[in-house]
Symmetry: C2
Subunit: 418 residues, 2 copies
């Protein structure tokens, strides 16, 4: 079973928003065994919507459309769909009352525009949107293709997918399975990796597809199988992953989801170790990576964003003389920050960053992108310097990754067998 | 002039990555006056690539393709393009030596796979990729449509767009202008907003298009004009925005780029005020929003991620008795955290958050999503409670937005005329 995803909105075409809706829909469809044939983004134009939908209806069994269902003039998806399916718009009492109640709860008056949101094509199955004012719609084309129209607000779209669309698709079609297993490797370039696992890759069964996904410092290897019957093939795939561990185990961080921070999270949690974080140039990015994971409160004692020199001294106990002598961006201050964070929080491990995120503040000796980072461990403190690029966002993100990697290295060598 | 953007990679279709490449390419093309006709994402299949490119070549003057240029077996874009343009692959000495040197600098051996990356279609103009091993390619189709193939690694793609593609497109075509002006509004629902500005909207000149972009608590209004000659129309658009200010000025945060944090950033910077941040459940997310903006070091004294009770007391001077009596998630502790952050850092303003991000830790009185936040100002401290949803990521992101909004409200009423 193949699906197309069509996202509608000029804001996508001009690059004003990042389309995460199609990502979420693709995942949900893959989970129930539906392969995405292609994704398209088009503007708020009824001609474009018509042309694109006709094309996708003829080539896919399911077409999921998002966007263009709001109450304002630029929202034309519903009208175009009604016309395509030669259906009149009729007032839906249930949805109208739901919209009225939803607005009343927020103290907002029900207007003519809101009333128009409850005008829905007669031929469609209305998908109740419990979290918003734009209902979803389920159409069936003449060739049997299902066309689903969902609002573009991510939260509302997600609920409609989970509560209304996925159950209906599972009931409607007999679906096979799709399995993706992704291994995260590090410290080995893509071309070398490909050579080292060439024999293993060549021996993979026909139905397993290998993909390489390179990123700075990391290559993800994804093994995929589509339209399989299930358990047996999945178990065969897991066996292939085990073989892969035997070949390149030293370079494997873990399975997908296993970012470096989640690998650190796992070690700290299992070992009952506690962490503190002292950030200057990364400005909270490292702390927020850890606190985004449920359970971080078990090990994260404290994070300090010591952006000013004063706060480095007051909150972390860094000696002002050290800053005066070596500068805030220095090996000595990185070490003092990590040790200070460890000491004041009572943690077992602490990491620190201090650097120049730019665009100003660089010098010849310490150009923008210079970042010192340190890890304080029960067995001593270690610092490294990494030049992390020239763009502020990139510097923050790379320096965060480097600092977490530094911690990971120390935890790994102390607490795991790899 | 219209363009299509085609991103290639199974990882996009299965929802394994968020496609930011097409966002960046769309912006860069818009800036030079090229309108995006549509964006497509397809899998690593030569059939799909061929079919899609044929279609887009016939309907757009420019087709930008990313992805599938790596050295491994799943990378087939180059071979498919060579076949489509009936061109042989020939070894490019310059690119080969560049790849060899790039790898040598990282201490990596040059392999047969790397050599194959310098095998390029004879008919294309090679676009030198200074930052990676996969060169870009510029083709011209029989109907005059330009087809550009770029690597999928975002950093490399961006440099190739800026250094090679954009200058060539500007030279090749006579391009008109595209202007987008986006106003951020808050505190007014989309349907009410639409009614309030209906007369203004109806009176807009034909060539200006208005779009509503709703998000929780915020509606962005975008005024766009395509294929215009330039200065005069842009000035007319700015006049329309001024009229909009006259109608709904109280609800306008600022122009796009003006997130609430950037509005706060601007006020603090202009007034020479200093800020401190004490985060519990938001775990560094607020600090990292501010530190992502260049110039934050001028006002951000310190951020404290006081995740443990102990760190709330030690780093922020919160009285342990207060936590014992009211619990860490309470109005009293939120206030003590903000006041503590203000005091220890010497800031003029401080904000705090303390809440239950879940999935565990909730109770009947304080369910997951309960977040107390406070702002300490030179004129007193104020706290509010907001229930911020049920999903951990959503709770962190909403609570961050609410806390920043709380600060913004206080700064706005003290320091601006609106």
């Amino acid at each position: 079973m193949k699906a197309s995803i069509v996202t509608i909105g000029d804001e996508i075409l001009i690059g004003q928003i990042v389309d995460t809706n199609s990502v979420s829909i693709a995942r949900k469809l893959n989970q129930i065994g539906i392969t995405i044939h292609r994704k398209l983004s088009i503007g708020d134009s009824s001609d474009e919507i018509r042309t694109t939908l006709r094309e996708e209806i003829s080539s896919s069994g399911v077409v999921i459309v998002t966007g263009g269902l709001g109450p304002t003039k630029d929202d034309i998806t519903k009208f175009t769909l009604a016309e395509m399916f030669s259906s009149q718009l009729v007032y839906n009492e249930t949805e109208g009352e739901h919209i009225r109640a939803l607005l009343a709860r927020r103290g907002i008056a029900f207007t003519e525009l809101n009333r128009s949101q409850a005008m829905l094509p007669e031929c469609c199955t209305v998908l109740h949107n419990a979290h918003g004012t734009a209902p979803g719609m389920w159409f069936e084309a003449e060739n049997g293709t299902i066309v689903v129209s969902l609002p573009g607000v991510p939260f509302e779209m997600e609920h409609l997918m989970d509560d209304e669309v996925v159950p209906r698709l599972k009931e409607r079609f007999e679906l096979k399975s799709i399995i993706h297993l992704t291994v995260i490797t590090r410290g080995i370039p893509e071309s070398i990796l490909a050579e080292r696992i060439a024999a293993w890759e060549d021996a993979l069964p026909e139905y397993m597809h290998l993909a390489y996904l390179p990123a700075p410092n990391i290559v993800r290897l994804r093994l995929s199988a589509y339209d399989i019957d299930g358990v047996e093939e999945e178990s065969a795939m897991r066996q292939e992953i085990e073989k892969l561990y035997a070949i390149i185990g030293d370079n494997i961080v873990g399975m997908e989801g296993s970012t470096l921070e989640s690998a650190v999270h796992d070690i700290l949690t299992e070992r009952g170790l506690r962490l503190a974080i002292a950030e200057s140039c990364t400005g909270g990015a490292i702390s927020s990576k850890f606190t985004a994971m449920a359970g971080a409160s078990a090990y994260l004692m404290a994070g300090v964003v010591s952006y000013s020199n004063d706060s480095k001294c007051k909150l972390l106990g860094v000696d002002p003389a050290l800053i005066a002598e070596h500068g805030a961006v220095s090996e000595q201050v990185a070490i003092a920050m990590a040790e200070g964070a460890k000491r004041v929080s009572g943690a077992d491990y602490a990491i620190s960053t201090t650097g120049i995120a730019g665009p100003t503040g660089g010098s010849k000796e310490k150009p923008v992108g210079t970042v010192w980072m340190a890890v304080a461990t029960p067995h001593g403190t270690h610092a490294i310097m990494r030049n992390s690029g020239t763009d502020r966002g990139q510097i923050i993100s790379r320096a965060s990754a480097y600092a977490i990697e530094l911690l990971y290295e120390h935890l790994k060598s102390a607490y795991t067998n790899n």
